[in-house]
Symmetry: none
DNA sequence: AATGAATGAGTATTCATTCAT
DNA sequence: CATGAATGAATACTCATTCAT
């Protein structure tokens, strides 16, 4: 009659805990997050959490890694397979990608990395390998192809894909810190892409 | 025998403690910083530290605020008083400013704000008022003056001074996280300024 | 493929668990022993273990009691039934018994009792009744019979059978603590018996 | 007016804490001892305890080592300096020593070592070096001197000083486990010494 | 003013025990 | 009967803050 005191749901637990942890880490940062709160939010006991994650730190790392978005891989693939002109790709899929990222969990992960990265170089490495490096490669490929096709001039942008992503980065930080201060981050990126294209178009 | 500690002016104490605290906060973040370590590094006792700063949090806020750089005010003044053309100012003092910031303590403060800002909105306000807002105003003024003088076209950049600073932001983050990965941040900013100017010049 | 575990008789389970528990308690002591490890070593689940033993403490007590050796009873019987002279019995079966005990599980039980006995007086009582008391009685009977037969003098040893066993006790402790430090415990007991006999022989 | 909330007594604290800890460890054993109870009994806060002892284990080791009795050294010295005959020394100071030890804190330390020694070999080493080894050396010296002087025969006891101490060991264990069961441990040792002397006297 | 000994609330982690499956 | 996922009380240790000296 009474509610069962608990459910056995071995398969789902890690995912549920990880999601709850992400929310709490996002809201409070690593140090200020209490394991107990994560457990409560996941609807499990502290003990169970420790059954799936050996330490708070391991939980943190698992959470960070779990957010590695498929989006970045998708971008790489899209660059290779698209039939759009390079300019059209920049104006379309790439711009869209740049607008999405600052709204996505990746932005939160970046914040956590900025806050905790010094003490977790392996996490930074992981993010470099699986996210940042791939994203930059995608941009670089796109620019190179544009140059090969005669769409773009051969400029310093070729070696500096970061230049394309700079306003995305700024938008991420902006949203973290200055949410309520007005900044039309979409327009920021529209304008930036406009400017870049004007600069590199043949 | 001992260091002539007693010669230190009492008036300097808060400053010395604050400097020591900045170093430790910078290295470890807020939570992982122990008040005792700050005191030790400042060469005072814990008790004395608490005489000047009522809590660790107050110390943190004082430290953050103490780093508010004069550089930003200087930039504002320079924009108003310069006799350079707008383009020359951008290529000269502004570019120099942008290259300096990511190497300066401001970068560290930004990291601390990103990490702790959510729980300290007043600190974010403070930084907004005293640093960010001023910096953006300076850029905006510069662009407006260029337009007034007929040097620049009237583009979206007028309302988006952030666009000018975006690569500076990216460089700051880059240095925090990916120090050892190669990126010529100076060239990044050179190119960006080149690009911006190409875009807005009449 | 798998071990034919299912062939094990259910009736053997408590015994198997108890044996596994003995090994772990012996290696780690009461507090440091985890029930889970006992279960694993016994090849059963934790739940099943708790079906047979209501608590860890009950398991501990059962284990301790299960080691009550038959050897002691055998010694008593042997004393009564032997046809050897008292001296011959001392030099033969008794000496052999004394040499065996420090190598036997009883030694481990004694260690566990020394460590945990204060909190488990009932265990100590049990061991007193079933092991120590019996052993001492056997020695006392032997000495008395020797006196009755005129083989031995009537000395204080009559009321102090512990005197005979003292080096056995020392050997047990020695092996527990100083395993690697050289001590020929067999020779110790040989000499001791020699000495005792010299003392009590008529 | 009100009682001061605490006293600063830096010098005395380690000693006080160590004594309190000895009592609790003695009563409960290592694992069952709660650091908080030690602190309470010492009349200090948990935090202060950790100021003087980095971990519970370090506290335990310090406590064990602090009990290293001067008695053993005294025995060694006495053996060397005495003007008594060897027999008189055995019947006098040595017998007295043997009767005291089972009543002294050393007995408790031995129990703790028996219980915890396996996990703390360094403690066992320490006790070997500072107590056991010295005690055995003293006995051995005594026997050797007796032989040199022609008081004693040259028997196996020369290489087995443990034989002399065996009933002391048994008495220690007896008191730990079977306190209330009658055994006149003093008489046990009287008789044993009698027996030994009868055996080794020339 | 200055010190640092002393406090105690707060937190990660463990593990005996239970109970849904 | 059997399992092992789930619980939660227990406990070592930390560190911001206080206050007797």
């Amino acid at each position: 009659m009474a509610e069962p005191r608990y459910q056995r749901r071995k398969e789902d637990r890690p995912q549920e805990i990880s999601e709850a942890a992400f929310e709490v880490f996002a809201a409070k940062g690593y140090a200020a997050t209490r394991v107990e709160e994560v457990a409560k939010r996941a609807g499990v006991s502290k003990g169970l959490l420790y059954l799936y994650f050996k330490t708070k730190e391991e939980l943190f790392k698992a959470v960070i890694k779990s957010v590695v978005t498929r989006r970045v891989d998708a971008l790489l693939v899209a660059v290779e397979e698209t039939e759009l002109s390079s300019e059209a790709f920049v104006r379309g899929p790439l711009l869209e990608f740049m607008k999405q990222i600052p709204r996505s969990p990746v932005a939160i992960v970046i914040r956590l990395l900025i806050a905790e990265g010094q003490r977790h170089p392996d996490l930074v490495d992981y993010y470099w390998d699986n996210v940042v490096s791939k994203g930059l490669t995608a941009i670089a490929r796109l620019v190179e192809r544009g140059i090969e096709r005669g769409e773009f001039r051969d400029t310093a942008v070729r070696e500096l894909p970061q230049l394309v992503l700079a306003p995305m980065m700024l938008s991420m930080i902006w949203r973290m810190l200055f949410t309520e201060r007005e900044l039309d981050t979409d327009k920021l990126m529209d304008t930036h892409i406009e400017m870049i294209l004007a600069y590199i178009k043949a």
